[in-house]
Amino acid sequence: MKLAVKAVPYRALQKTTTLLISAVFIASIGIGVPVGPPQFLPVAVGSFLLSLGYEFAYYRRFEYELTDDTLDIRSGVFNRREREIPYGRVQNVDISRNVFQRLVGLSKLDIETAGGGSTEASLRYVTAFEANRLQLDIRRYKRGESPESHAEGEVGDTGVDRDRAVDDEELLFEIAPSELALAGVLSFDPRVPGALIALFTGSVPFISPIIPFDAPPLIVFGLLAVLFAAGLVLAWIVGAVSAIVNYWGFRLTRTEGELRYERGLLQRYSGTIPFDKIQAITITDNPLKRRAGYATLVVETAGYAPGQTDGRGSEAAVPIGSRDRVDRLADEISSIEEPTFNRPPKRIRRRYFVRYLLAIAGLTGLLYAGLSVFDLADAMPWYLPAIAALGTPLAAHYKWFHRGYWLGEDHLVTRNGFWSRETKQVAYYRIQTVIETRTIFQRRWSVATVIADTAGSLSVLGTGAAAVDIDQREAERLRETLTERLRTALAERRWDRQRSTAFEWTDTTEERSDSTGASGNGQDVDQSNASQSDDDSASQ
């Protein structure tokens, strides 16, 4: 099948715009050539025609096809590329469309698999109808159904409706207006201060006349503080707006075996995450959110490559929701008992206390040293950070109080963080490796950290599900228990799978029960069933 024909002019236009913007940028800063409409128009038209030609060739040479067990993509104008992606390996299927794409009825479809440095396959662009059809059909192929059996949906020409009409969806979470507003208020875009600093340092010659450096230091200090505050407010406003735009109309629904999300005001995102592929669930809150009864939930999958540039991270993240709804949602995704956390030994609070004091002392010292360099140490209140030392006993206590781990029936639950408290749930059968570490400082307190590593992507930045600073003997036990539970959980799953395949595909269970190795199951049944059982084992 082909991409949408409409995508050809759209892509060409997109390319030309980027080209022209960079051309204007280079021309305006670099060489000082006067750039006006007369010089501009031929360049614009020329590059548009060129890219139109290229995009047409791209369109001609881009082909995709849904076969019985793989998605095949052949692409490339100069470098040809042929890919076959087994359905069982597909982690997420994401659709996004921005305002302009919605206007012309185009969608971008991204297919994520585990591993690899980036999105596995990206169809730019298909019609909105085709995108929904693909998303739905990939899901069906994954379950081993053939999409033809649902061909009655063909009549509807609005893709979204067709999708909804055919599959029963159960609404798990829909963001309330108050929650959306709160998400905006609580968002803070750290990139803005960074950009401002870059801008500021680059334009010191412009700004220096504004700041009266010969005035008393305290006034300079105050002025800088005001500038800093203005930067913070700006960062906050940008963060608020982008959060509201991003999470507008956020909803999570459940269809058979899959989690489906939709969100976005200007750019609409929607996608599916198979329950099988969920690696971990993280619930985050802080004292303010806890007081108001709210929390944040993130679903981790292995599909998204670590360090993806757009900073969206996991797609199925509830930015903020009332506590009980978030808990209910977590319960829907992976039902779990109420955890009772095992805390680290109490002696560890002294360690945190000392650590916080050292950090504050370091900060104060740094400030003093920095001010001394400019001979301002006498005039400035460099000792201000030391006041925070008053709060350290409380912080140390809460750091200890929030820390803990719990071994549930099927899950490991860990909790960490003194301000922003993070609770992580990892199913035993999702654990990849178990790591026990003892730093030189931990050994002094005879404690250790146990980390249950999963294939999730957030864990690269965060700590993973970690039981931090537990007693060394306990850590050793925990490490062994986790490995053991992983093994039994996997064995159970394999057994369940074998049994269910046996029930489904043969009449007598006795025949199947002695078969070993899930991948060999059902191969002596007829052809379609054999491929079915292969799909199953690959997708779970």
């Binding site: 592929k277 292995a302 490796t433 026990e436 050994r443 992983l486 093994r487 996997l490 899930a518």
Partner: protein, 152 residues
């Protein structure tokens, strides 16, 4: 538990020496440029070598691994001691490789890859080439046996 081959210490010490020489050379270069005494950078380089030797010896002493029937278990680390359990089911693929230093010392390493985000690749250094190949084959056999159709 298996120890590494004692000669691995030679490799680690060599690596430390290379780092020390580079740092020392840069330091001496800068000292000459700014026309100050060359003694501190040289002293620093010597200190680096001494620390490197001690570190290599301790590191060797703390390294141990064992392939159990269902998992690989490793212990290592000087400042931070790390113990890792890699279930065989989770292994994606296994490499045996030899760096230039390792070829010089007649050694090889085996690298085990998982889909995890933290311990995604686990290297067992200090094996003889035959051991490394043997370990790779043995792991391959065990991984196939343990039915790792569910690696992610």
């Amino acid at each position: 538990m298996n120890d590494l081959h004692p000669r691995i210490r030679v490799i680690w010490i060599l690596q430390a020496v290379v780092v020390a020489v580079v740092v020392g050379a840069v330091g001496v270069g800068m000292a000459t440029f700014f026309d100050v005494s060359q003694l501190p950078p040289v002293g620093f380089a010597v200190l680096l070598v001494i620390v490197g030797v001690i570190h290599a010896i301790l590191r060797y002493r703390n390294w141990a691994y064992v392939v159990r029937e269902d998992a690989i278990y490793l212990e290592r680390g000087v400042f931070t001691q790390v113990r890792t359990e890699v279930p065989l089911v989770r292994i994606q693929h296994v490499d045996s490789r030899r760096s230039a230093f390792e070829r010089l010392a007649g050694l090889a390493s085996t690298v085990v890859y998982t889909a995890g985000s933290r311990g995604a690749d686990v290297t067992i250094p200090g094996l003889t080439p035959a051991e490394a190949d043997g370990l790779r084959r043995r792991l391959k056999g065990l991984v196939i046996e343990s039915d790792g159709e569910d690696a992610v």
